[in-house]
Amino acid sequence: MPATPVQAPDRPAPQPGGPGPAAGGPKDSPRRRAARRRRLIALLFLLPALLLLGALVAYPILFTVGRSLFDASGTRFVGAENYTEMFRDPATLKAIRNTTVWVVVAPLLLTGLGLILAVLTEKIRWATAFKLVLFMPMAISFLAAGIIFRVVYEQDPDRGVLNAVAVGVHDSFDESASYPTARPKDATVLAKGKGGAYTTKDKAAPGNTVNLGLVGVPPKDLPKDAEPARAASKATAGGAELRGVVWVDFTLGGGGKPGQVDPKEKGLPQLAVEAVDADGKAVAETTTAADGSYRFEGLSAGDYAVRLPAKNFAEPYGGVEWLGPTLITPAIIGAYLWIWTGFALVLIGAGLSAMPRDVIEAAKIDGANEWQIFRRITVPLLAPVLGVVFVTQVINVMKVFDLVYIIAPGPVQQDANVLALQMWLVSFGGGNNQGLGSALGVLLLLLVVPAMILNIRRFRRSNS
């Protein structure tokens, strides 16, 4: 909505130029009549445009300003209350904050990215094809782009491309644990230590059996060769041997007793187990067999605790939380960049090709390197184009709505909120307070006006 009204000032501007200056003196009546007739004809031609502008731009602006002074029902005059309410509401403040982030970050990134890409594509052979590919997202509606990126950013690596990559890269460096969900039923035998390892509370000397029960292991996580642990749990330990089983302390279907190795309960194979001496140092390490049994042999006399190191239980890496409250705004800005980079690239590229070559040639002859040419010649000469891209994007970014609305999931919508979205939410999205919504609209209009004025000035300058 705010985008349309703000174009108002630049159109009526040329009107005064319509009727030519009445050159003749006031006594020259046929001339004066002609001038008047000309003015009338001009007015007649302008009338449709003026009517349209009035009905579609001026009237809505005035109405919105008026509406913003009334309450939700539209019947009670509340003065500036909506405006004070606006700045008291944490949701609106958040929206203002986010819009600021958008305005500061997005146009700058976009202009920079466009400039770099434009300069680089100048040098490559398939520049047109490259530009075409980058420009393609412009052909996609914001709605579709939003849906695409909603999926791209999805947390589940099976669905979200970005997280599939993140998890893939992470896992190729770091093997995931075998039993991420396993845990002791309670803290009677095993205590959870720092970093997620479990250590027995009581210490045992060699010659003892220490059986450790864990629960929460999905049957499908258990290797197929896992065997019942009961037999191994009863084996007696030799003199210098500390042994026992690590088993799933849960009988499927019920009936098992906690803390007891019941007949059907299976051992947990391939689990790392450590013997820890009095100083807390691991002196021996082994892994469990198919029936969950482990043995430490040749331990010197003394008391040992048995530790199940954290690497057994590390939660699988879930990827980056793109759609979480902290990353949501950068994530949406990323999607925005994807759409608009092509636009910036093409515009800046056009400016680049129109640039006088001889200056660059001269610089080259004088011995300037690429970086110097870029900094001292290309950027200054491109400044008008860069300015247009930047200002257009500032205006564009202020009214960003659809991407935020689509990409941000319900629970984090407020964390991603921007002014245009807040305006819609307040007036139509359940709040039904069109008074407050109008006030937000007016605020948005006021914020866009400076950028608009800047743009118009620039147009004027380039026209004259």
């Binding site: 947390q155 929460g216 019920g254």
Partner: protein, 444 residues
Amino acid sequence: MSSTRTRRRTATATAAALGLALTATACGGSDDSSGSGSQELKGQTVTVAGVWTGTEQKNFKKVLDAFSEKTGATTKFISTGDNVSTVVGSKIEGGNAPDVVMVPQPGVLKQFAGKGWLQPLSAKVRDTAESNFAPVWQDYGTIGDKYYGLYFKASNKSTVWYSPDALSQAGVQPPKSWDAMLKAGRTVSDSGLPAFSVAGEDGWTLTDWFENIYLSQAGPENYDKLAAHKIAWTDPSVVKALTTLSELFEDKKLVAGGGKGALRTTFPESVEQVFGDDPKAGMVYEGDFVGATISGDLKKKVGEDAKFFPFPAVADGKPPVVGGGDAATVLKSGKHRKAGMKLVEFLATPEAAEIWAGAGGFLSPNKSVKPEAYQDDVTRKTADSLIKAGNAVRFDMSDQAPAAFGGTAGTGEWKLLQDFLRDPSDPKGTARKLEAAAAKAYKD
């Protein structure tokens, strides 16, 4: 409100679709009444507007056909889609008002009555309703002291759905109390399967969790007061209910994926997590329409692959029954409103309800409807718990609240309960924020 409505509606629609598929030949048991009609309304056309589409619309038409047969009136059904008030409003202004409107929410009924669109129902409807319905249904149909809405179709939002496999693997029985449910949940999680799938991405499921706990723990009187915002959300009873809810939310063993995972789960996904091919949880709470998702989208058999138990009682309270429904109203500006009133009179009878009950995807608050009329056991059981709750049934609180508080994604109750799911450590603070949001929404 509308997004809630859409989702639930799609769910029920699919349920009805399946129901129809199952009983393709069972066209209701009303054939015996044919021929006995007096044809007194011959030549009149009753126009009915409602939110139903697809199979629901088809099944409702069967009810209308029975009415035509009885009275000789012709009937016409207009589907309004989700936005009843806008469509009906424009039809009234255009001088083309329907005679009967099936209003989907108490808030909308209030709005209609407030605008003076509705005609109070006749004494005959009131009498039939009095003998066939628990008084609470009339109360929800009464605005001021006038009886405007007859609740024809109901829903039951106090059903906890579980996978029988998951429970039998853990060796637990469907629990009868909140504490037993959490205990059973912990056992299920010990067996290696997280206990509950919570659809935190859809705020409305969280409000339903809260409402069931509150209704059972604080009792129907407090529930009514809170729904009307006559007591504040900072009331100790609210804090207590939130604390009870936090017992579930804060336990990572009970909620699949923990709070963060739950916040990424939508309602259809939560059902799929329990009843899909790769189960990620053992139980899911939501209303009777879960059955529709199970049988429609997941192609699983309700009653075999999926069962439910009534939402258990919290502490010393009674088991809660939170419901909802569509109310038949008569518009003042309808051209054939007298015939429309006759239709509402017909809808109040068990005969009308049994027609749709036979077609499936339907619960009737009418206690004279014969249990045999329902086409399957699960529906019969949900209907039974709705009828048995009698006067203790309460409507969804968030549906009664202003939309800004109880029905908008990203703000109000939805958002605050989502925050609470993320971090359930401060029930008091959440209550304070809820009160602040409610105070703002209820003031106008």
